[in-house]
Symmetry: D2
């Protein structure tokens, strides 16, 4: 089989370098071009020395990148870039996988409110598919544009999907009179590779804090997907915190059950729901997931606890840069290109 | 004024060394003796080199320690030790301050269930006072035995006291049909100075996990105190997590309000409640507390957020070894001895 | 080709788990058995959850392990174990790869002095080969027993080999009247997976210290190999330090040159020496290696600086658990079994 | 006694905040004004929440700060600022303590070469005194301007002073035909509070690297002082490394001895030299200093090892922000103002 020709727009951030790491080991993909306006002319291995000897590639100016000769183009860019280039690329038959938020939120008003920009191509948005393979697989296969799920949303959507689908099917399982609470903690790479005083080691190491308590951009995306699962509007309270780790998201999710809901065997429900998924691991009863158990891998691990009769606590871990971003995007590429979904994604978590 | 004569039983753990650090700087206290069975004969500065030149003290065998000549004896020991020595000491007029759990829980059956031992002196327990100055000041002043509050409980009790006292006074402020949720995160020193594979750096650094999800010993103590504030039983869900920091606890507390409760100005309520407290800092609206802002100091900082009309989110930080243990115990000693409560506790947090 | 049958003795430490991680991804090897006396009956994925779904293997008691049916047996054990089992295994044609020190040091008196035990099979030791592929490749290919290089020694031997071989060939390049100084820093996983108070996070995180200043067990092994390269006794001063990182060794090596030596182009010397090596990367002039650039990979990266005319400073990084131990051992297995040396070792360092 | 009136120019960096922490606890000093051009109007506690309730002070524009009404003005500014303001201040009788490099290096050409700027007041520089109390006490007492020692230099100068003074007195103790090697490691706060990608946690945590290998600005200052001690030019090789800790410097110093030098009892030499110093602690033979043993305190701890007959290894730790900068500057202020040198500097290191 000929290799898939891949282009990357904006490869100098953490999702970019992670795409490079994964694609450099992918047996069926070949990176044809990578853009980086400020870094044009720089060899990728100069910026990311882990790639020395593994990838012979130089950042090029976006205007000179042969993106239209690619089969797939990943956008590892700030919000707003993918939407400005998607029309031209898809017109030429190039699949677009956006790791930013341009194609995640269906409601353009909601998008504008949270991302402070107008959506420039609502028609493409309408056809684009939300990129989360375990919950949107069939729709994704036929898409031309994927708006990949955010890092936090991946943990919370996978953590809640079986439960909310049951609620949708059987009604009255989750008590939606009170919001579902997601208390999430993310390693610092989630904030990106940027010069920001609040992110430097002397500020952020040996420290812990909440942020975005007043509202976080990942909320509308999560409410959209969770409500889709549940068949009704799902109220969600989301409080993100900043962990002094490099990678890793840990979401502690609190769900109030109805009386009917208290009778469900959630352990079995989840094990069945994810039985055939290569990247979702439902831990045995009593297990405690750790972020390091997924470090560098595309796995999500989930544990379930019943605290009081009416309270289900769901613990979910992922590597925010892999399953939360670049890895899930490679998984999506595999899906789009008809490859086995786990191709090139067999990295085992680095532990210790 | 003559200096207070202080004894420390079991000084080789983290609460012990923190007592040493604080008392070595205390202008009105003098450490007369420190016990350490295994370490008898060892100079404290040999074990804790930060004390070199600051404290000329040698661990002595408990059987040889002149504890009965002290004004106050701190127990920085495993659970069960203080109760075995309290009768003899208090009979001689020595005040006992236990940093462990022997005198925290009034119900001996509850104590036995969680700590897997019988209580050996229920009569003393009945007279002992729970040691948390901001909520129990007047009772503490007259006590002979103080069972100092645990590290997590201090954050959660201070984070909820004004609210629950209002609920007690005005009724129907907090919706107690659903449990209050406390999602807490603790730095690793909270697990103590012990040889345990799960605590070594290669396991616990760059990692995050929950633990004690099935039930944690601090729960009964918190329910006891919170219910006392509220005037009725307060249901609490407590999920502790292990942070890869050395010190610091961060509690994110979720409280459902009644319709009446949604009308309360909680910011003012808390500012008024803690206005005169030297060690409780209610942050201005919109602030985000960080664990480093209290590192090494006896401060607790609290921020309040209203997420939905009926959900109050309370963020609380403390240094688990200071306000969560040794510092609060020195504060308690000051109270018992009639000193200004903040004597010797003016350390400013180490930041960065 | 049939898969290589691999046995692992003592798989519950960090070199053991790292062997599991690497071998689980090795296309030509199959782990047949893993021993663990204390952990017999435990599934490896229960201890190391990163292996869930990737390796279906249970620790078995050493007495029941079918080690003699393996092609290769790795010893990830404390010193002294491999030598007790090597005779029986090699007699049955099983290749022995010892990650500990039993077969590193040729002089049994030196071995006894540093490791506090008699060598039980000096005849096997005499035939065993020191396991460091880049410097001992040809001898290794024919060996039955490999005593794999230690973690620190790998950095220092690779950092000095081209220079000392030149010295051997041309004489009078290095001033050996003064010792070569190796100031090395190791991440904490180098101390092993053991319950030791000095290794717990609250002690070792946010801290830095030297250790073994009076003498470290890796010294005799290094002097043996360096002297072999140089054709004369090489005096070495080795000061190890403990880094608050999980993985990674950084060695800063200071070499005094003779006047003749100052004329050498060391950059070219090293680039030529390692041109064809897949796992040794000589960085361009002016580069600064970082431990994270090799995290999780089998690479060594080297940079050279001339500080004064007569002082060469050599900076070397490796991942102590991969190139410093398990990875280099898999590389050795490939060599023994006639596989391309880099089979199964193409992991790219995890960065960030 | 009236309190010393203190001004701080440039208080928003790490040396600034550390001055604030120490001076807020100083019983004899009062901060009158603090400047911060960008931060004018901001309360210091808004930027540094550890100061909430402890310091009621607002950054003011440099043009409006009543610096000339102070007894002492600290410059916690980039290089070049203190020299532009020192003449005016000293003319009005204000003592100037510069934490940057403007008044450290006596040779203006050397200064220009390393700091890329002309010295604007060589006459003041000639009269200024290098600020390192243990080695320059008497000269400092009479100075109007102090150019405080850098963070690395403090460790290396204190680590070598007794030895080099002996060499000066008795000749032929240290073999100065080869350079003294200082392999130093600094916590990341040494790089300052600045927005720099290379300092963010996801880059610098769990990592270790050398930097400034080609030459570091602290070299000329160290050579100047060491040569002063030795009575002859001291060749020095200095290699700094970046530690993934917040605070702390660890210098490993390698000194070659002459044959005569090998006969010296260095342990006694150092213990005698520093016997009366409150902030220099010579550890007992065989001790291993740790950076955490000085975290947050003004102590330097030193250990001495003889590795080979002719090699002395000196290990030195300090907190770079305290003894390496702000603490030593407060110590200098005490000296200038006739106060006991340790006034306000009795913080015990935070351990764990």
């Amino acid at each position: 089989m000929k290799k898939i020709k891949v282009g990357i727009v904006g490869g100098s951030g953490y999702t970019g370098i992670e795409l490079l790491r994964l694609l450099a080991q992918h047996p069926k993909a070949e990176i044809v071009t990578i853009t980086g306006r400020k870094d044009a002319g720089t060899h990728v291995a100069k910026m990311f020395p882990n790639l020395r000897g593994r990838l012979d590639l130089t950042f090029c100016d976006p205007s000179e990148a042969p993106l239209d000769q690619c089969d797939v183009v990943f956008f590892a860019t700030p919000h707003g870039v993918a939407m400005s280039m998607a029309r031209e690329l898809t017109a030429k038959g190039v699949k677009v996988i956006d790791l930013a938020a341009d194609f995640r939120i269906k409601d353009t008003e909601v998008f504008s409110k949270w991302y402070k920009m107008e959506h420039s191509c609502p028609d493409l948005l309408a056809k684009a598919v939300y990129g989360q393979p375990e919950t949107m697989r069939e729709q994704m296969k036929k898409a031309d544009i994927l708006g990949m799920a955010g890092c936090y949303p991946t943990t919370i959507e996978l953590g809640l999907m079986p439960l909310l689908k049951l609620h949708s099917a059987e009604k009255d399982i989750v008590n939606l009179n009170v919001s579902i609470i997601a208390d999430s903690k993310s390693g610092i790479s989630g904030a990106g590779r940027k010069a920001d005083v609040s992110l430097i080691c002397a500020e952020a190491a040996d420290n812990f804090k909440a942020y975005g308590v007043g509202g976080h951009r990942h909320e509308p995306e999560m409410v959209q997907q969770l409500s889709e699962f549940a068949g009704e509007k799902v109220p969600l309270t989301f409080i993100p915190h900043l962990l002094p780790t490099i990678r890793g998201i840990f979401s502690t999710i609190y769900v109030r059950l109805t009386e009917k809901g208290t009778g469900v065997d959630f352990q079995s429900l989840y094990e069945n729901a994810y039985r055939d998924e290569p990247f979702v691991d439902v831990l045995p009863t009593g297990s405690l997931p750790e972020t390091r158990s997924v470090r560098g891998s595309n796995m999500v691990r989930i544990a379930l606890y019943r605290k009081e009769p009416d309270l289900l606590v769901i613990l979910v871990v992922e590597d925010n840069l892999v399953k939360g971003s670049a890895g899930q995007s490679v998984q999506a590429m595999n899906l789009l290109m008809g490859l086995p979904e786990s191709t090139g994604l067999d990295q085992i978590a680095l532990m210790p």
